[in-house]
């Protein structure tokens, strides 16, 4: 099955207000706030590219840049985590 692979987390430090929503709701605890209360990716190797941090960021400050591991076309939805309760 085609999978998305992480390239990098692009974080706009000028826009991030350190609310911690992405840090708390990351299913793999990839993100943390640094000493300046800005988000950083401390465990990028654990990232599963669900992009929930990107979608829930009120400041549009984080972007999960991905690459496809094979040529099969794939939409974002297939790798998205379930947010159901």
């Amino acid at each position: 099955m085609a999978r998305l692979k992480l390239k990098e987390h692009v974080i706009n430090r000028d826009w991030c207000k350190g609310c911690g929503i992405c840090v708390h709701f990351c299913p793999k605890k990839v993100l943390e706030l640094d000493s300046q209360e800005k988000v950083i990716a401390v465990r990028p190797e654990d990232c599963i590219c669900c992009k929930l941090c990107e979608l829930r960021c009120p400041d549009l400050a984080i972007e999960v840049v991905t690459i496809q591991t094979n040529q099969e076309a794939q939409t974002d939805q297939t790798t998205r985590m379930s947010e159901d309760d």
């Binding site: 826009w15 207000k17 929503i21 979608l55 009120p58």
Partner: protein, 287 residues
């Protein structure tokens, strides 16, 4: 197109407080527009006054930042003069249902094709945390230090009763669901109401001891349930989420076009009648 192509980057970072749910609604709305592949030159966003209304400044669509509560009235004007445009009308809870309550119910009654997004954070944030008609009974606010005694509106039931042909509810926490619902609401031909529960950690959260943005979002997750889910069946006190109404009903602009056609036909007939009478008058002079 990337999300950044739909915003006016020069106004960022946006002015909302850290963790404000309105930013998440903006995020969801941009993604809905992006996934639908809409041309930003065909979208008009009108907004009123309040924290929520500032959203129209951040999007790179045609935008109108208008009078308090009157976003829907301006949107109606735009839509009637240019029905081919897509109208997005984000409003706060007070903007939509206190100051703009009358505009809201009548836009719903007319079933005019636009998407009203009620960004419900249950408080007037910008002016210092006064309680709103959606705060609910027994809540604290700057103007209700000993709790409110006002009951709140149920936006969903109100919209259904007023005649909206698409009514849905989601939360800032359920962002994927919000994107999905917003897409359907924009596609829907007629008046669509999407209530998105949002968090105001600065006023509502602080006054009501609901903690920071994260715990308010946990609260959204734990106190709501999808329509038709087992969780909702087991505990009916949970707030239902999902699409409540999605029906086809005569749309206002289309009906208006029909009236124009009818009036043109009638005036044409009148003209023909008049000419006939005048001609008759000429050909048959009275003796």
């Amino acid at each position: 197109m990337a999300i950044k192509d739909y915003i006016r980057q020069r106004y960022f970072p946006q002015m909302w407080c850290p963790g404000c749910g309105h930013g998440i609604i903006l995020n969801a709305l941009l993604r809905a527009v992006d996934e639908m592949g809409l041309d930003k030159n065909n979208i008009v966003m009108t907004s009123g006054i309040g924290c929520s209304a500032r959203i129209s400044g951040y999007v790179d669509f045609h935008s109108l930042h208008t009078l308090h509560g009157r976003a829907l009235a301006f949107a109606t004007g735009v839509k009637l003069s240019k029905p081919e445009l897509t109208l997005l009308v984000p409003m706060g809870d007070g903007d939509a249902l206190a100051i703009g309550g009358n505009h809201f119910i009548h836009a719903a009654r007319r079933n005019i094709d636009m998407t009203a997004i009620v960004m419900n954070n249950r408080i007037y944030g910008m002016t210092g945390g006064q309680y709103s008609p959606l705060s609910g009974y027994g809540k604290k606010a700057t103007t209700a230090p000993y709790t409110t005694i006002d009951n709140d509106f149920d936006v969903v039931n109100l919209s259904i009763a007023a005649g909206a042909s698409f009514v849905a509810r989601s939360t800032a926490y359920h962002v994927l669901e919000s994107i999905d619902i917003l897409k359907k609401a924009i596609q829907h031909k007629g008046f669509s109401v999407v209530e998105i529960l949002s968090q105001c950690p600065t006023y509502y959260g602080r006054k009501n001891k609901e903690g920071d943005a994260v715990s308010m979002m946990e609260f959204q997750k734990n106190t709501t349930a999808k329509l038709g889910s087992k969780a909702l069946e087991k505990d009916p006190t949970l707030i239902p989420r999902g699409i409540f109404v999605d029906v086809d009903a005569p749309e206002y602009c289309q009906e208006y076009d029909k009236i124009v056609e009818r009036a043109m036909k009638a005036s044409q007939n009148n003209r023909v009648d008049q000419t006939l009478t005048t001609e008759a008058g000429h050909t048959c002079p009275t003796p």
